[in-house]
Subunit: 336 residues, 4 copies
């Protein structure tokens, strides 16, 4: 940690900051410069809560050197984590594909789509039984009935199930039925939900929040891991920017950043990341080319009549093409 003092800070100000640093159990290194003094603080094993220092007289700025995450960090676990989801490995050399409708609408809808995506080679089936919707007047999902349909998909096609837990109330019932508990972008800093997910014995797919820095994203994963659950799958799904030609701006540089900083696997969601079906295929290819460990894609057999997110759902035919092209690109990178 570096404490930058104002040009006008007095020697007493500097001494007081050094004293406080020492009281916190750290070593202080004052460095008088041509214009101002900066004070290095060393000896901390994790990030120091610097608010007390920041509030001292004469302090201009605090600069953190040590990053705040531990368990998610590659400095702690140098190898790639490979997460086992009922026999399907996520991470390492493997590519995983998760596909399905935005919302579970009916038994028939799920079976039609599941058959198609299973045939095309998908490993897991996605579909929302509980839906977070911007408007209270929109369709909110089939709830537990939807979860039952999802478990029938697993029974029939062997696809693992990924579905969202929208709050702490439904987390346990979701965990009962699902193979992977999804935590949505709007809930990325719902810390109660993260903690509770951290106490389940199921993998968690954590979506990046719409305005979350990558550091905050990894800290949210840290919340889950700090409760004991090490099976976290990260998911880049686009961030909010001024750009208005897509629903969100897919930030693919987050993929190599997370892979370098953390040992956790990361998948890309090109459906929410763009919001338009004609962008799903190119951005799926780009995600795998950037080094992602897999994709989560919305597929619907009849997008024109989907109950939600029709505009960003691709058809089974487009999905088949996607599987072929992403596999070929993955092969260039030695992925299987």
């Amino acid at each position: 940690m570096l404490v930058v003092m104002y040009k006008t800070a007095t020697e007493d100000d500097v001494a007081a900051v050094c004293k406080l640093i020492e009281e916190m159990g750290l070593n202080s290194h004052p460095m008088p410069g041509a214009i101002r003094t900066a004070i290095g603080a060393t000896g901390n094993k994790s990030r120091v809560d610097a608010d007390r220092i920041m509030a001292q007289s004469g302090v201009k700025e605090i600069i953190h050197v040590t990053k705040p995450y531990k368990l998610v960090s590659r400095e702690f676990y140098p190898e790639d984590s490979v997460i086992d989801v009922g026999g399907v490995p996520v991470g390492g050399p493997n590519l995983v594909t998760i596909a399905g409708p935005c919302a579970v609408e009916s038994y028939d809808q799920c079976m039609i789509i599941a058959e198609a995506v299973a045939k095309a080679g998908a490993h897991m089936f996605r579909g929302g039984a509980y839906k977070p919707r911007t408007s209270p007047y929109s369709f909110q999902g089939l709830r537990e009935e939807g979860l039952k349909i999802l478990s029938q998909v697993r029974d029939k096609f062997g696809l693992k199930i990924v579905t969202e837990a929208v709050d702490t109330e439904v987390l346990e019932v979701v965990a009962d039925y699902a193979d992977v508990i999804q935590i949505g972008a709007r809930n990325m800093q719902n810390f109660s939900l993260l903690r509770k997910a951290g106490r389940q014995d199921k993998a968690v797919l954590l979506k990046r929040g719409m305005s979350a820095t990558v550091e905050e994203f990894l800290m949210a994963a840290e919340y889950i891991m700090s409760e004991g659950n090490r099976k976290v799958i990260l998911c880049e799904r686009g961030v909010r920017t001024f750009a208005d030609h897509t629903r969100n701006t897919l930030d693919l540089s987050a993929v190599p950043f997370c892979k370098r900083t953390s040992h956790l696997p990361i998948v890309v969601d090109p459906s929410h990341g763009t919001g338009r079906k004609d962008k799903v295929l190119p951005l799926s290819r780009a995600g795998i080319a950037a080094g992602a460990d897999g994709l989560i894609v919305e597929v619907h057999h009849d997008p024109a009549n989907a109950m939600s997110d029709g505009p960003q759902s691709i058809t089974p035919e487009m999905f088949e093409k996607l599987m072929g092209e992403t596999a070929a690109i993955g092969a260039v990178l030695g992925r299987k």
Copy 2:
């Protein structure tokens, strides 16, 4: 609603869209243009779920004319809502000031600060008993013990209490102790929490999410109101942008926008909105000048030793100055 067709759309495509619009109980108005056809859809009393239309062949874009909110809209309630918080009116010609520490740290800390802010003329006391923190290793609040301290502040100084409910589990106990339930920026789209807050008989202070459009912000208020609770106080607290000289970018244009679009009162939070104590006073003045109905400000008697958010907390002396200057500016606008 306006449906814009691709230049290449066929007459059959146009006819199919018109038919679907009519099936939805609306009237269709095809308008062939020099380059492409657009189709107006009228007759809806609220916003139409357009995903099914968007997914039709030949459809390029859907443009919504009717806004999705109802209960929050000034078109439904033309007069300013004035919310009564135990005798303190929020909205209308009144200015309200909410002040206190970021976190409830101890009985003594609260009493010292409460005495100072009450003396300076604050109407309500803020302080977090439950704290949402980016890191799982940071101080998480005194929990119910903190709520008890807050109720002692009310007993002793007559200040109404505003404190955050971080999840549905703690919402009811917070509602038991508080006069106003705060919903934080990170929870603005925690729909389960919004719904539950909508079933309480307490006012709710709803903070704008860090990357929420004003429309999404009002839709979050709509969630609360749709459950029956009309006592919603909006709070602008800054949004996330590329600008790095402040923690967030306070978007004061949201104030006149919300006042025009909605009947609900809106307050400004210059502490989170800027993250730096030397910006709190100028942005407080600016918030009132922009037409806000009040302020929520972090005050600490000893910012250098605050357990959280010390850098953005102002001292009681600065708060007294703030009260004087904002009252004078309010007077220019006929506020009291």
Copy 3:
């Protein structure tokens, strides 16, 4: 400057970086920490170009302590600069108001508007003779004919003239006619234009770029000053964000930031800052309340027939109200 090394950096890496720092004429301060080593570099009087250090083996990050600006900095000139524009002082205790149409359309249009704004108390008249337009097919301005009309406005009403120089070709002719040369947001990093403006003997109004950090904004002012022209007036006019209820997001926290960091005066442009006439009055008040040294506002006697920016132009009646309210707010802050 602080050089942060990777955890995996070797002692040789650290030694090489220290050697390079010393070669650059600075002092190095290696600080071995619990997890990694950081190296302080001191002795520089201005910001060091750190790319060479960044590219060394084992270097993770460079953190700059010294800010890159000099002449614009309040550390160099502690007093407020007061810029004399033909007898009108800008900065210090004074409030200045600049008003007029977006574009100079005709002699009559300018005379009608100038008479109205002069009567209401404006000090300067704005109007574009050269217009930067997003589309090549839009109205591009009356050019030198427009400048002549502006000088007639000055002759008749005594208003000082502010008008934009869109490129280096027209800069000199603009400087011949204008009292203040405006540099627009899109040109904030047109360094050739900045340098040439720095060689004129006229004040320069520099608008913040749509995605410029405040540091980049001040560096653009530094370009002008580095050529010898000290008469720079900063202008906050909104930045580009995801928020879509206004054309730009007016960043009023830039006002106290610039006032603290720099001695230069700063004015606020609520017309471009919001893009909607019903937001101009509240944000004008807010700008003055935040501590701005003045306003630049678009006024048109017939907004419905304005050739550009009609939606954000206010009428002379609204301008009169604006002058009254902002003067009253300025008085609260001791401005005249």
Copy 4:
């Protein structure tokens, strides 16, 4: 174009807007709805300047259906443009690679790098002779001496030359030496420069501005084309967002968007797009996978001693790997 009226607009307001639309030579289609009236305007062959309508009484919002660009639009030229740069085709099925240092530093530096990138298969050489720098105190380039070095690179290795024209003064001399004139991100809306580039008989590489929407980007290309120069190569180089783990956020969805909307070729700049050398390879692969027509990459044989942008420059060895991997990914998409 759709004109949305306020709920409170009178019949006279609606009639006045219809009359104005008819006066503008268009047809009006009033559509009274359940809540408000909207008015369609058809018959325009290009985008209408709507400011006059927006400023009418009772008008809430204008919605444009027709896009403002013509010459850049795929609706006007349905086939991919293939631009011939001295025998090197850009666009269509071809992949092009442009590589070289950020700045031309010396004859030797350029020859070393040129030899390496030519050997690895690059088609063009990039290098700045004129440098736009945020600080007036940074290295500003070798100017015409640099251009001469670049032409020697062409003579010796047959690489076509891409170099930036930073202002209208130097545009002609740059056009004399270069095969492709680069217009930088900061100049994307320097309309004088765009127009002048549109009058040259050389291809232009146009970089997207840091906060430009894709529509504004295409309008900047329209400026160049409207002067007669059809040889425009678009370049996505990242936009400015809140995300701070990279220098910019590379917006790869712009690639399929531009390919669909326009016939012009588009290349990706992963060096400026990320600002970090360890992100260049993954984002280069991702760019090609997203459908880009090529790459422009910073390569330096000695990044640790580069005079600018060392942190984002890759070595010749990394570049060779990049060429191999992107060619293999291109092959998956049928590119050569």
